[in-house]
C-alpha cells in the first residue's frame, strides 16, 4: 500500500512543483520586460543621476 501512496505523492508533488516553477518564471519575465520598457520610456540617464543627488 505504501507504494500506492508513493505513486500518488510523486505524481502530485512533481506536477505541483513544476506548476509553481512555471508560474514564478512567467512573473519574473513579465517584471523584467516591464522594468526595461519603463526605463526606456523614462527621462534618461541624466535624470536618474539627478534623482540620486536630490534624494541624497
Amino acid at each position: 500500500v505504501s507504494y500506492m501512496y508513493a505513486g500518488y505523492a510523486v505524481a502530485i508533488g512533481v506536477l505541483g512543483l513544476y506548476a509553481l516553477r512555471l508560474s514564478v518564471r512567467r512573473r519574473r519575465l513579465e517584471r523584467l520586460v516591464s522594468s526595461r520598457l519603463k526605463r526606456l520610456a523614462g527621462p534618461g540617464p541624466e535624470a536618474w543621476a539627478e534623482d540620486g543627488r536630490q534624494e541624497r
Binding site: V10, A19, L40, W48
Partner: protein, 339 residues
C-alpha cells in the same frame, strides 16, 4: 497544492507591460523615441483570457483533488491487485498526456511551422512548450510505472518493449530540449526543432502498439484497445475518466503559462531591449559608472549617484547593492533582485 493560488498570480498582468499589445507598447516606447528599436511588447492576456486561464487552473486543481479522493477512498480495491489497482487513476492519465496530447500538439505545431503557408512563430512556441511540459509527464509516466512495476513484477525496471520504448521517448524529448538551447537564430532553431519533434514522434506509435507487437510484461491497454472494448467498469471507470480530464486540464493550463513565458523570452531576445538601453546610455552626456571595465567591474562607491533608484528602492538599510539604472543592463541582477 497551490495550483489555484498560482493561477491567480498568473492572471495578474503587469501594469507596465501593455495589455493591449502593439499599440499600447508603441505608446510607452514611443515616448522615448525608440519604438523602431524595441518594436511592440508581446501581446498581454486580455481580461477574458486571464479568466479562462484562471478557470483552467482552478478546474484542474479541483479535478485532481477529486480524482485523488475518489481513487484512494471511494473506489473499491481490485479483484486481483487489491489496493495497488488505485494507481490506475494516475499512471494511465499521466501517460495519456505524455504520449498522445503533448506529442499530438507538438507534432501538429511542428508540421504547421514547417509548412510555408502556415509558418508562424506561434507554432514554434506551441511545439516547444508542449514538448517541455510533455517531458515532465513522460518522466512521471516512467516513475509511476516503475513504482507499480516494483509491486506487481517485483522489479523497478525491466527491459520490456513498452518500458524501453517509453524510456527512448523520454530521451528523445530531452534531446529536443537540448537542441533548442543550442545557440542559433530564431528560424534555424525553429526548423531544426520541428524536424526533431517529428523524428521523435515516430516513437509514439511504437510505444502504443508495443504491447500488441511484442510479448511484454506490461499489460494490454485498458481503454484504447484495438476494438475500443473498455475493460474497466463502474465507479472505477468514472474515476479513471475524471483523472484523464483533470490531468488534461492541468496540461492545458501549464501550456498556456509556458507559452506566455516563451513569448516574453522571445521578445527579450529578439527585440533588442538591451541594445535600446545601451543606446540611451550612449546618448547620455555622463559616463555610465557601471560600465564593466577591468578597472571598474562594478562600481560600489558610496558617492556613486546611481546607488539609489528612482523607481525601485534598495532593500535593507546600509546594503550596498548597485540597484541603479545600470543594474537593469544585467538580466541576472534584475532577476536576483526580484527574488
Amino acid at each position: 497544492m497551490s495550483i489555484a493560488t498560482n493561477s491567480r498570480h498568473e492572471a495578474i498582468s503587469s501594469p507596465q507591460v501593455p495589455a493591449s499589445g502593439a499599440s499600447g507598447a508603441a505608446d510607452v516606447v514611443g515616448a522615448a523615441g525608440v519604438v523602431g528599436v524595441v518594436g511592440a511588447a508581446p501581446q498581454g492576456w486580455s481580461k477574458r483570457t486571464t479568466n479562462i486561464v484562471r478557470a483552467l487552473g482552478a478546474a484542474a486543481a479541483v479535478g485532481i483533488a477529486a480524482t485523488v479522493w475518489l481513487g484512494l477512498f471511494v473506489t473499491p480495491p481490485g479483484a486481483t491487485m487489491g489496493n495497488l489497482v488505485r494507481l490506475v487513476y494516475v499512471h494511465p492519465a499521466v501517460a495519456w498526456i505524455a504520449l498522445y496530447v503533448a506529442f499530438g500538439i507538438a507534432g501538429a505545431a511542428s508540421v504547421l511551422w514547417l509548412w510555408p503557408r502556415t509558418r508562424n512563430s506561434f507554432f514554434d512556441r506551441l511545439a516547444a512548450s508542449a514538448m517541455e511540459v510533455g517531458t515532465v509527464f513522460t518522466g512521471l509516466t516512467l516513475v509511476t510505472g516503475s513504482i507499480w512495476g516494483k509491486t506487481t513484477w517485483g522489479v523497478w525496471w525491466a527491459w520490456d518493449a513498452r518500458l524501453t520504448s517509453t524510456a527512448l521517448l523520454f530521451v528523445l524529448q530531452l534531446g529536443y530540449l537540448a537542441l533548442r538551447r543550442v545557440p542559433a537564430d530564431h528560424e534555424a532553431r525553429a526548423r531544426r526543432s520541428a524536424v526533431a519533434a517529428l523524428v521523435a514522434a515516430v516513437d509514439v506509435p511504437i510505444v502504443h502498439f508495443s504491447v500488441i507487437w511484442w510479448r511484454t510484461l506490461h499489460q494490454q491497454a485498458t481503454v484504447l484497445t484495438p476494438t475500443l472494448n473498455v475493460t474497466i467498469y463502474g465507479s472505477m471507470a468514472w474515476t479513471m475518466l475524471l483523472g484523464f480530464v483533470a490531468f488534461t486540464l492541468l496540461f492545458v493550463w501549464m501550456l498556456a503559462i509556458r507559452m506566455r513565458s516563451a513569448a516574453l523570452e522571445e521578445y527579450i531576445e529578439g527585440e533588442g531591449l538591451d541594445a535600446a538601453l545601451e543606446e540611451r546610455w550612449a546618448e547620455a552626456t555622463i559616463d555610465n559608472p557601471f560600465d564593466r571595465t577591468p578597472d571598474n567591474p562594478f562600481d560600489r562607491t558610496p558617492d556613486n549617484p546611481f546607488d539609489k533608484v528612482p523607481d525601485k528602492p534598495a532593500r535593507g538599510a546600509g546594503e550596498v547593492i548597485p540597484v541603479g539604472a545600470a543594474a537593469s543592463f544585467d538580466a541576472g541582477a534584475e532577476t536576483r533582485r526580484d527574488q
